[in-house]
């Protein structure tokens, strides 16, 4: 809720804008912006949802528990936590899963990208572009669009239900594979809603590309996984738009988390220059759009987006393109699926360190574990995407506010909230993160 402290007239260059509780983000946080004499003096993205100490909670637990425990960090992207955890443990144990298991994990990730992206595009972000306070107001005028969004989300939920055992916090994922492989018929039954969802996603891309995007173009260092054969989800090297190209094990050598007093969440920076970087759909799209399916690339071209995207407000289109791709990929994976082989491979314990990064809907999610010879976790480190994007969000807000000081208070406040939502921030994940306070006297 915006707290309008001082009415502002055009021309006044000093003011204070405060939003105590940012809405339509997951978790609790706020933003404080202080402008004096036409200069932006202070900008703090405050995260006050209490830290949840998951890393400490994992110490002493069996390595096989890590996927299920870390999945509880987030109700929106539990699959991402499970995937990073199982990959990290399997690397620690020297385990390689079969190709069918790898493909099923990719299918599970498609389900999570669909449900998370659709939730964000329609329920959280679209009301900003269309001038509504929330999706309920938007639904009064755009009811059919909201209904079709719910149907898309449901299709994503169904993938997770069938493959993961239930729609939220799947229970079928284990280190080494799955507890049980799905029957072909159970997956084939998902095809019709997925094909319908892909058609709706196509409409969504064209609709989103017609929205009015506020001006904000910046030169980012995009960071994402990159894989030679596929659009990144579970696997790949960590690359950046400024030439970084490293193995996942090298992540701690190039990235670090620092603590700032105003936030419960750690801020991640590039180690070399302590600089901000950008993870998430725009990063993946910048670095790997050639790996999208032919149909998704053709759609991007039709929408005028088969190009670099450096305006974060256009992230809604990129997210829609990734949604279309996730439907397309899920359909491909299901059509080629055959029940083949064991549901998992043995994963005997040994003393080792394992790291893995996968692409959560919001961006790169890094896990690192040390386990002892009994298979107990002795150390855990989790770097979620929202803490990696925090500095970039603050830099976006700095440029946005500096260029729009003449805007009326309520409009500038709304624009700042919209800019934060460009990143689909998940505060709950980051504290393991938002209120807006812009001061202009």
């Amino acid at each position: 809720m915006a707290e309008k402290q001082i009415p502002v007239r055009a021309g006044i260059k000093s003011r204070r804008i405060k939003v105590d509780n940012l809405t339509r983000v997951e978790g609790e946080g706020s933003l404080l912006i202080d402008v004096q004499g036409g200069e932006l003096r202070e900008l703090k993205l405050k995260i006050f949802e209490p830290p949840r100490f998951f890393e400490a909670l994992l110490k002493g637990r069996a390595l096989g528990e890590a996927p299920d425990i870390t999945a509880r960090i987030c109700g929106i992207c539990p699959v991402a936590y499970m995937m990073s955890a199982v990959h990290a443990m399997e690397r620690a144990l020297g385990v390689t899963v079969s190709d069918p298991i790898r493909q099923l994990r990719r299918l599970l990730y498609c389900g999570e990208w669909i449900e998370s992206h659709v939730l964000h595009i329609f329920m959280l972000h679209a009301p900003d572009f269309l001038g509504y306070d929330d999706v309920i107001g938007m639904a009064r005028d755009h009811g059919e669009r909201v209904k079709s969004a719910l149907a898309m989300k449901k299709a994503g939920n169904e993938i997770i239900r069938v493959l993961g055992g239930r729609e939220v916090h799947p229970i079928n994922v284990k280190v080494g594979g799955f507890y049980k492989l799905p029957e072909k018929a159970a997956l084939t039954a998902l095809l019709d809603p997925l094909k319908h969802g892909r058609d709706t996603a196509r409409d969504t891309v064209l609709w989103a590309s017609s929205l009015d995007f506020p001006e904000l173009t910046r030169q980012y260092e995009f960071v994402a996984l990159q894989h030679p054969d596929e659009y990144p989800m579970n696997d790949g090297r960590i690359v950046s738009s400024r030439g970084l190209d490293i193995q996942q094990t090298e992540f701690p050598d190039h990235f670090e988390e620092i603590h700032l007093p105003h936030s419960n969440a750690l801020h991640a920076v590039r180690k070399e220059h302590r600089s901000a970087y950008f993870v998430g759909p725009m990063a993946r799209y910048q670095l790997s759009r050639d790996q999208l399916s032919e149909e998704t690339r053709a759609l991007a071209k039709e929408a005028g987006f088969l190009r670099d995207v450096n305006n974060p407000f256009e992230s809604i289109v990129v997210r829609a393109l990734e949604t279309h791709y996730a439907f397309d990929e899920a359909i491909r994976l299901i059509e080629q699926y055959e029940v083949d082989g064991a549901s998992s491979v043995p994963a005997p314990a040994r003393k080792a360190r394992g790291v893995a990064a996968t692409e959560a809907p919001r961006g790169l999610l890094f896990h690192q574990y040390d386990v002892d010879e009994r298979g107990l976790i002795t150390r855990a480190n989790i770097v979620p995407p929202t803490s990696q994007n925090q500095f970039t969000i603050e830099e976006d807000l700095h440029d946005l506010v500096s260029a729009n000081l003449e805007l009326p208070q309520d409009l500038l406040t709304a624009r700042c909230e919209q800019a934060i939502r460009n990143y689909d921030p998940c505060i709950s994940c980051a504290t393991h993160f938002l209120k807006l306070d812009i001061r202009r006297d």
Partner: protein, 168 residues
């Protein structure tokens, strides 16, 4: 179409937030073996798509969820509300461990004309929500009372009259 869908909402790992799921779990155990045609039980995190789909597919829905206390609503208090005729009491339900919660889902369903013919909320005021915690004592007592009331209203052969919310 489901005749009656009883939906317990919450996070099983967050203390009093788990009360909806606990009520559904106990009620299901109690009706085991009894003929309950057209009745469905669900433990839910309160996902908007899942809830609206459930509303569309049933004649009557009962939601059981933890609600926040206010100056006049103390821990363990039970609020029974007809949500088909009344808007969701946002002072109790707006805050959610999810970005779109029960309140938004019900009001969105109302705008989309997806509400079932009957929709009742049994809200149990909670005070203890940390991860890994158990139900607080007053909420545990209230949970038992709500199980009893729902049993009486929907399943007990000779007490089908509308149950009133127990007073606390």
């Amino acid at each position: 179409m489901t005749r009656l869908h009883i939906i317990g909402i919450g996070n099983s790992f967050r203390g009093d937030d788990s009360v909806g799921a606990r009520v559904v779990e106990r009620l299901q155990q109690r009706v085991t073996g009894a003929a309950t045609p057209g009745v469905r039980f669900t433990q839910s995190r309160g996902d908007v798509a899942e809830l609206i789909q459930a509303f569309e597919d049933c004649q009557e829905a009962v939601l059981i969820d933890a609600v926040y206390c206010t100056d006049s609503v103390k821990p363990g208090a039970v609020i029974k509300l007809d949500l088909h005729s009344n808007e969701v009491p946002l002072e109790h339900l707006r805050a959610s461990s999810h970005c779109l919660g029960v309140a938004e889902s019900v009001e969105l369903a109302r705008v989309l004309d997806c509400l079932p013919a009957t929709l009742t909320l049994w809200g149990i005021a909670g005070e203890n929500f940390p991860l890994g915690s158990e139900l607080s004592a007053p909420v545990a007592v209230a949970a038992d009372a709500v199980v009893e009331a729902l049993w009486g209203q929907y399943f007990a052969p000779d007490t089908r009259a509308n149950a009133a919310a127990p007073a606390y």
